[in-house]
Amino acid sequence: MSALETAQKIKAKFGDLISEPAEFRGEITVKLADAEQITAVCEFAKGQLGFDYLVDISSLDNYGDDPRWTVVYHLRGLKHGNELRIKTDVSEEKSELPSVLPVWRTANWHEREIYDMMGIRFSGHPDLRRILMWEGYPYFPLRKDFPLAGKPSELPGIAFTKPAPLEGGPFVTAAGGKDAISREPRIRNPEE
């Protein structure tokens, strides 16, 4: 059974909730319309289609678009060797979707990381704490409206909480921009 056939099986089971499988560079992606169903879809993929290994969960910030968040699940079946990517959108007002921790326990730290970096919450997660940043840090640094230089936070005693200094180096440039100043990504303020 190829990866495309497994995607068709998910579509047959969940109907209109699942988009037509898209292929890019040999990878199959399906999109789930209702994020609340993610646990059911993953349980079906693991139980019936043999996707026993969750490789990764990542998240996207579609800043300026609605819905703002996309959560990306990368599934693999160790026995049949197929891979499948499931994506689902979450709105900014809600910023919450069910945890897949009951399906794969490796989801624990991946979901904590997404909460830490993007601020998307996972309902049903027993221990949704920050993982890379420290407890009490007020921002979500991977959001597109968080500047690369960082923001000052009100916790002077805990860590380095000032924006990164621009004098000295390292000098980085980003593609685009009309002059050298606008190519320095650290001075860009995404909110402007």
Binding site: R25, E27, S58, S59, L132, A174, P185
Partner: protein
């Protein structure tokens, strides 16, 4: 007359279980012990909060993130080529393997991963395997040193030094190699490098045999690591373990075999797996992987197109001016190459919109890059799937019920690197 008395000694797992049972009656107070972030056995800045009942661990809570530098955020703000030096600093024990993994991921996005010149593929495989040996040697040395066998650590560093010399010869740097480029490598192998590599292989196997005599059948070593922190097949899959930790639990899954890339299908090598899934199995798997890596290296030295001095001028970069930098003399004399050079340096490699995931069999496990591109020279989002991060998430499960003195053995057998875990 002397009396003979039989003493029954059960294996360590049974002893631990019996001790735990005995202790259940004694309702002692639990003690919380902080381990790290600066602890010699945590190999970096890992902090674990242990809850102890006497000497037995009842709860372990790893605290990661002390080395978080925001690599994923940084990647969104620079071109694909500019990010290569950052990959050196992920798993800093195997920078060459990280370079290869990252270059392959971007090439998959570009759709040129199957058009790489054969010589480039062989060079990259050799880089990845040298990095594997180097990383396993350090993992092994540090593991043994934490158990009190300092000799192995010193001996393994002698061998690692030779690998650093090889890395220095190809890239100019010993640690921060940044050797690969999108669509190829920085430059071809220097003269005499293959001979130097062959010399390393010849000397390495006897050295590895010596390490084995020091550890594999050493009574103290075996007693300390056997039957310790057994990870079942189901748990290994459920927790998403990868690399030697997954194979140590008896699952024959290696991305080099199961999702072949580069020239691995042309090379012969075996995938070692463990039988029990304890610390001793994970150690044995790493030992055998080093032998297999040496086997791959020797085949590459023999089979590399162009041979040692590349008399036939085999290319090492894809012949596409929109992806790899043109030769310098052409930039100075030809308009088209000048434009290509200018665009590549200022705008970066123009990648198509789309999303890909590429997983590479790194020494620590599966190093994956998920790249989401909206077109242009900068990724919209890059997620790094760090094997050390995922492998560490099993710590709260396997620590419970072990003795406090076993923590260093378990951490050593998991073989993680915090630079990669925290990104």
């Amino acid at each position: 007359m002397a009396t003979v008395q039989d003493i029954e000694v059960r294996d360590s797992a049974a002893r631990t279980a019996a001790a735990a049972e005995e202790l259940q009656d004694m309702h002692g107070e639990r003690m919380v012990l902080n381990m790290g972030p600066s602890h010699p056995a945590t190999h970096g800045v890992l902090r674990i909060v242990l809850e102890l009942d006497g000497e037995i661990i009842t709860k372990a809570d790893p605290d990661v993130g002390y080395l978080h530098r925001g690599d994923e955020k940084i990647a969104e703000n620079m071109t694909y080529t500019q990010f290569i030096p950052y990959t050196d600093r992920l798993d800093y024990l195997a920078p060459l393997a990280n370079n290869v993994a990252y270059a392959l991921a971007v090439e998959k996005l570009l759709g040129i991963h199957d058009k790489l010149p054969p010589r480039c593929q062989y060079i990259r495989v050799m880089c990845a395997e040298l990095a594997r040996i180097s990383a396993h040697l350090l993992g092994l040395g540090a593991f043994a040193m934490d158990m009190g066998a300092v000799t192995v650590f010193l001996l393994s560093f002698t061998e690692r030094e030779k690998i650093y010399n090889l890395a220095e010869a190809i890239s100019g740097a010993r640690l921060t190699t940044s050797y690969t480029r999108i669509g190829g490598v920085m430059r071809d192998l220097p003269p005499g490098w293959l001979d130097q590599c062959q010399k390393f292989c010849d000397e390495f196997i006897p050295a590895l045999n010596e390490f084995e005599t020091l550890l594999t059948r050493n009574r103290i070593w075996v007693d300390r690591v056997r039957d310790l922190a057994v990870i079942s097949k189901e748990d290994a899959i459920d927790y998403g373990l990868s690399g030697p930790n997954l194979r140590g639990s008896g699952i024959e899954y290696d991305l080099r075999k199961n999702q072949p890339y580069l020239c691995y299908p042309d090379l012969e090598f075996d995938i070692p797996t463990g039988a029990v899934g304890d610390c001793y199995d994970r150690y044995l798997v790493r030992m055998e992987e080093m032998r297999q890596s040496t086997r791959i290296l020797e085949q590459c030295i023999k089979k590399i197109p162009g041979g040692a001095d590349n008399k036939t001028n085999e290319p090492v970069n894809v012949a596409d001016g929109k992806i790899t930098l043109p030769p310098k003399q052409k930039v100075m004399s030809s308009m088209e190459e000048l434009i290509h050079q200018f665009m590549l340096v200022t705008e970066g490699v123009n990648c198509p919109p789309g999303e890909i995931y590429f997983g590479h069999e790194n020494p620590k496990g599966e190093l994956g890059f998920y790249i989401n591109s909206k077109g242009g020279g900068t990724p919209y989002r890059m997620k790094i799937r760090a094997p050390s991060f995922v492998n560490l998430s099993i710590v709260p499960k396997i620590f419970v019920g072990t003795l406090i003195s076993d923590t260093v053995a378990i951490l050593g057998s998991l073989d993680f690197v915090m630079g990669e875990c925290d990104r």
